[in-house]
């Protein structure tokens, strides 16, 4: 009853606010990340440059945002004029014609967008969402500890080498754990990391006939190493850790190594919040059988739902928020170290940015090396590095993620977890009528 009640309240609220939309006022749904909050703060700049358009913000936590915008766009609620969506949604919704295709003026310089980002946000070569900021994944490690242990971490080390280093760094008596990785179940949490691991071992989510491929020996090897790494050299309670939890551990100097989103680099090198800001170094993500899909690719992007009556104004806003001049505007206010990155080549070419950001080279390299359209060793039918851009993936991802956490907690064996995961994925694909 309560679930239904909530759903109905949502629908009712949607209908209400749709009827209250005011001409010239854009309603923008966005996620509560630092860069987005900054965008909201710059509202007066946009409104001054574009008289007649005012902005109304709906800022939500990632999961809430995703379910709100999905419900709104699927039921043609018309609640929002601009939506913040991820690289997962963009191609799916583009295919369903739920988004307005984006065509920009020459001044926008669409060719300046990083090709990986542009590709991931397009369907059939048509751009449906403009990247606001993007990220990949890489290794972040404590240079001081690694040196003291007599080890080195090069770009793209093998996972076996990562294991060796983790073993050397692991010193729980002094409050340092060898390696910290995501363990909290979720398709955007532990599965993002585990999928990149599996990719590098030569595994993939689906075979060419869309049957799940989770029972392969490659998955078995990747997940076994994942469980082994965290149980032998990880912090206790890894089952509940995701980005924010590990960030807190790193900033307290409790982790020797971390493989996660490149955006974390700007936090762990910020002396204001990190006790080890000057001791962090970066390297490209670990690999095993292949480099393909070893590091993920994600972007938060702005898109226009097809139902809006203010598509022109919405486009004006998106063009402003994802432009070169917006990045310069943020740089002018907060310095080049705090601009949204991962979207435009021109940002990385800027000497002032190169000076301000110690991680920019590693981040750009990681983003450029990810290719959502070719992320597995053997051919696969889906787009996406750390996810498969099909509607079923969210449900499959959470079910598989739970099994991985159970294996990590030692409740079931890795073999059993993957068998359960395969069965869950198979159920979902059958229901959706893939075969």
């Amino acid at each position: 009853m309560t679930m239904l009640g909530r759903a109905l309240t949502g629908i009712a609220a949607g209908a209400l606010s749709a009827s209250l939309a005011i001409a010239g006022e854009l309603t923008i749904a966005t996620v509560n990340n630092g860069h987005m909050i900054e965008m909201q703060k710059l509202t007066p700049d946009f409104e001054a440059a574009n008289p007649g358009i005012t902005l109304k913000w709906v800022v939500l936590e990632e999961g809430t945002l995703r379910s709100r915008v999905t419900t709104d766009i699927a039921t043609k609620g018309g609640q929002f004029d601009v939506m913040t969506i991820g690289m997962y949604e963009a191609p799916i919704w583009g295919r369903l014609n739920w988004l307005v295709p984006l065509e920009f003026s020459a001044a926008y310089d669409v060719d300046d967008l990083l090709p990986a980002m542009r590709g991931g946000l397009s369907y059939d070569g048509q751009l449906y969402a403009a990247p606001f900021y993007g990220e990949s994944s890489m290794i972040m490690y404590r240079e001081d500890l690694v040196q003291a242990a007599g080890m080195t971490i090069e770009d793209n080390p093998t996972w076996s080498h990562v294991r060796d280093v983790a073993a050397k760094l692991h010193d729980p008596d002094n409050g340092v754990y060898g390696i910290c990785l995501r363990g909290k179940p979720g398709w955007g949490d532990n599965m993002a990391l585990i999928t990149t691991m599996a990719n590098s071992f030569g595994a993939q989510w689906f075979n060419m006939d869309w049957t799940p491929a989770l029972d392969s020996p490659e998955w078995q090897a990747a997940v076994s190493l994942y469980v082994d790494l965290l149980t032998s050299y990880g912090p206790p309670g890894s089952e509940g850790n995701s980005f924010n939890e590990i960030l807190a551990l790193i900033n307290e100097g409790k982790c020797g190594m971390w493989i996660d989103a490149t955006i974390a680099a700007s936090f762990v090198t910020d002396p204001g919040q990190s006790k080890v800001a000057d001791k962090m170094a970066f390297a490209q993500a670990p690999v095993m059988a292949t480099n393909k899909g070893a590091n993920w690719l994600w972007a938060w992007a702005l898109a226009i739902p097809a139902g809006t009556k203010q598509a022109e104004d919405a486009k004006t806003f998106i063009e402003w928020a994802t432009s070169k001049s917006y990045i310069e505007l943020v740089a002018g206010k907060n310095g080049w170290g705090n601009v949204p990155t991962g979207t435009r080549q021109s940002t990385y070419d800027n000497p002032e940015f190169q000076q301000a950001a110690t991680f920019e080279e590693a981040e750009l390299k990681a983003i450029l090396s990810a290719n959502p359209e070719d992320s597995t060793l053997n051919p696969s039918p889906y787009v996406g590095v750390q996810f498969a851009a099909i509607p079923e993936f969210q449900a499959i991802g959470i079910a598989v993620g739970q099994q991985m956490t159970a294996a990590l907690a030692g409740d079931i064996s890795v073999e059993q977890a993957l068998a359960n995961a395969q069965a869950a994925a198979d159920r979902e694909m059958r229901k959706a009528g893939y075969y």
Partner: protein
């Protein structure tokens, strides 16, 4: 006034209440029988009960039912027993009673998500949580609460939030207890337990029934605490029915399966309610 007029005057409000109940219920039942996936707008129509079949054959279905009942039962037992004890304890006058009462009740006014985050990070974190620090201080191995005892962790978190609710109800109802009866019992030489069993408990029978009923309604659909802390895991160890509906259907935007799960949840809620009404319902009429 004659009976017909009274009925006519009552009719509008009863009709609204009925619609308020019937329309959502009807929609849920209707959705549960059709193909309705938000991401496949082109698929629709009668579905041969396969939404129910899909939900029911999920390997996590029976564990989820079991977890739901365990959660409801444990939290009810803890909050009622603890609530009674605290309410009786702070019933007698002492210095600073007002402040103590406010402090005891305040957990109830914390949002469930905040409550869950607080427990997850500040209390139960195995590295820097309060429990871990306390365990290390006495040389014990810290417990990894969320991974080793996921369901118990959630029971503790929810109980912490809801015991104050029980205290609040019991406390106010103890205030209305007849002082003369208590004094008479004291004069007759009745001890604490004799007074508790024969005076306090019968007096509190009705509030207890209310607390149990209200809490049951809320605990059958616990979601925020699970979503924030264990995300239903490890495996499906802390997945309850509400979370299963979320994981299986809402995440996949499948309104059909979600509605089927909702109907199953309604049936379960009614069964539980039936038992509870049988068990404690008597106290609502007697007294």
């Amino acid at each position: 006034m004659n009976a017909t007029l009274i009925r006519l005057l009552q009719a509008p409000s009863i009709l609204v209440l009925l619609l308020w109940m019937v329309v959502p219920l009807g929609m849920t039942i209707y959705f549960s029988t059709i193909r309705y996936n938000l991401l496949y707008p082109d698929r629709s129509g009668w579905n041969n009960w396969s939404n129910y079949e899909f939900f029911y054959t999920d390997p996590a279905f029976w564990p989820a039912i079991f977890n739901t009942l365990t959660l409801v039962g444990s939290v009810l037992a803890i909050s009622v027993v603890l609530g009674l004890a605290i309410a009786v304890l702070i019933d007698r006058p002492f210095r600073g009673r007002g402040i103590v009462r406010v402090l005891i009740i305040s957990p109830f006014f914390i949002m469930p998500t905040v409550n869950a985050l607080l427990w997850k990070n500040m209390m139960m974190n195995p590295i820097y949580g309060l429990f871990a620090v306390a365990a290390q201080a006495v040389g014990a191995e810290p417990i990894s609460w969320m991974s080793d005892l996921p369901l118990l962790s959630i029971i503790i978190i929810v109980s912490w939030q809801w015991t104050p609710f029980a205290v609040l109800i019991f406390m106010t109802s103890l205030m209305s207890m007849d002082r003369e009866q208590k004094e008479a019992a004291l004069l007759d030489g009745a001890g604490f337990w004799a007074r508790f069993w024969n005076l306090t408990l019968p007096h509190l029978a009705r509030p207890i029934a209310i607390v149990v009923m209200i809490q049951m309604i809320f605990h059958l659909s616990i979601f925020a605490e699970i979503y924030i802390t264990t995300v239903g895991g490890p495996g499906t160890e802390s997945t309850n029915l509400a979370f299963l509906i979320f994981a299986q259907a809402i995440q996949g935007s499948d309104i059909g399966v979600a509605s089927a799960g909702g109907v199953i949840a309604i049936i379960l809620a009614n069964i539980v309610a039936l038992f509870l009404v049988r068990m404690i319902g008597k106290s609502l009429t007697v007294s």
